[in-house]
């Protein structure tokens, strides 16, 4: 049982990093494909499309920071806390990355022919980023209370 608890603890430490990376991979791939498609049709503004497609890359950074804040000696007493905070923060980052990628793809699709809505079309992606920041910040706050 003790070994199993230790495994959960280590899982909780590394999950934000791993799932944050997966979130960024999927999100950037979705938005990146949209930017490539838009470049075929649009006459200019290619740099903006590529820039938007990199938006979901922040989630791997959040994951790395949470991982370092959780990183400590894993004991049977703190393993459950590390697992709970780490895994739930990781799942939140994963969803944020995938859906931000989709929001960016839609923004690219909409703004390729209507550049004047470019800024506004990024609002949903920015809101999703905000939720990711919530998960990130409160994971850091809570992790300070784990012994």
């Amino acid at each position: 049982m003790t070994e199993f608890m230790l495994v959960l603890g280590w899982l909780g430490i590394f999950a934000p990093m791993a799932l944050g990376a997966i979130a960024s991979i999927i999100g950037c791939a979705i938005a990146g494909q949209a930017s490539i498609g838009a470049m075929v049709e649009a006459d200019g503004g290619y740099g903006r499309f590529v820039g938007i497609s990199a938006f979901p890359s922040t989630f791997v950074i959040y994951g790395i920071v949470i991982m370092f804040s959780l990183n400590r000696e894993v004991t049977p007493e703190n393993a459950a806390g590390l697992f709970g905070v780490g895994v739930l923060a990781a799942v939140a980052l994963l969803y944020c990355g995938i859906w931000q990628g989709r929001a960016c793809a839609t923004a690219i699709n909409a703004s390729k022919e209507k550049p004047e809505i470019f800024g506004l079309s990024l609002a949903p992606a920015a809101i999703i980023e905000g939720f990711g920041v919530f998960a990130f910040v409160f994971a850091l706050v809570i992790s300070a209370g784990i012994s």
């Binding site: 838009a38 049709e41 989709r102 699709n109």
Partner: protein, 229 residues
């Protein structure tokens, strides 16, 4: 990545479908569209071909009867899992069947015997043949106007009304699909509407040109006759 993200690059490489209707020149030729559609998987390409084969009037010959159409409906629906695509096909078949019934009734014909269409409404139409809108005005709100245009002998107006109804149906279904196969099919069907729309415009333009030419020739003849006198 899930199927909902299957064709992101393909969809974003297409001009907005609404632009098709405002453009003076088609922003995307069929050749270019087909080139973009080469990104589809072989299975999806075959499904799209079957749906277009069913819904495009140009793929029907003059000698094709209701049995041909019914066989195509069956072929298109066979193994089609997408509820959206099934709904699009069924709605389009219903629409064509109701308009065909209106035309038959306008010619003084009765309801054809047996299962004369693959539509779900065939029996309902036969049972309500004498009602001006087959008691379908609540289910099909576009029907009263279509019946009026047919009564007014305005075939161009009727065609444009039907294209408008079809386009709205596709818009409704498209609101739930962004980058998946359904989105691609809906785009292609909208493109087909645009193509027919532009052709009906071309016909109207040809008629207008003929009328203007007749007027010009008539005035020329008058001048000519006066000059000769």
């Amino acid at each position: 990545m899930s199927d909902r993200d299957a064709y992101i690059a393909l969809v974003t490489s297409l001009p907005r479908p609404e632009r098709l209707f405002f453009a003076k020149q088609p922003p995307l030729s069929r050749l270019r569209l087909d080139r973009r559609l080469s990104d589809l998987t072989p299975d999806d390409r075959e499904t799209l071909r079957r749906i277009e084969h069913l819904l495009s009037w140009s793929s029907y010959g003059m000698e094709d009867d209701a049995a041909v159409s019914a066989a195509r409906v069956e072929a298109a629906l066979d193994g089609l899992e997408s509820t959206t695509l099934r709904a699009i096909i069924e709605e389009r078949v219903d629409l064509r069947t109701v308009v065909a019934a209106l035309r038959m009734r306008a010619k003084g014909e009765g309801p054809p015997p047996g299962k004369w269409s693959a539509s779900r409404l065939t029996r309902h139409l036969a049972e309500n043949w004498n009602d001006p809108v087959f008691r379908l005005d609540r289910r099909l709100p576009w029907l009263p106007q279509a019946a009026k245009l047919l009564e007014d002998r305005d075939p161009l107006g009727l065609e444009r009304h039907m294209l408008d109804v079809t386009f709205r149906q596709l818009q409704r279904h498209g609101a739930r699909h962004f980058f998946d196969f359904e989105a691609v099919v809906i785009y292609v069907l909208k493109w087909n509407i645009f193509e027919r729309w532009s052709r009906s415009d071309a016909r109207a333009a040809a008629r207008r040109f003929e009328a203007l030419a007749d007027e010009a020739l008539a005035s020329f003849d008058e001048e000519d006759l006066r000059g000769a006198a």
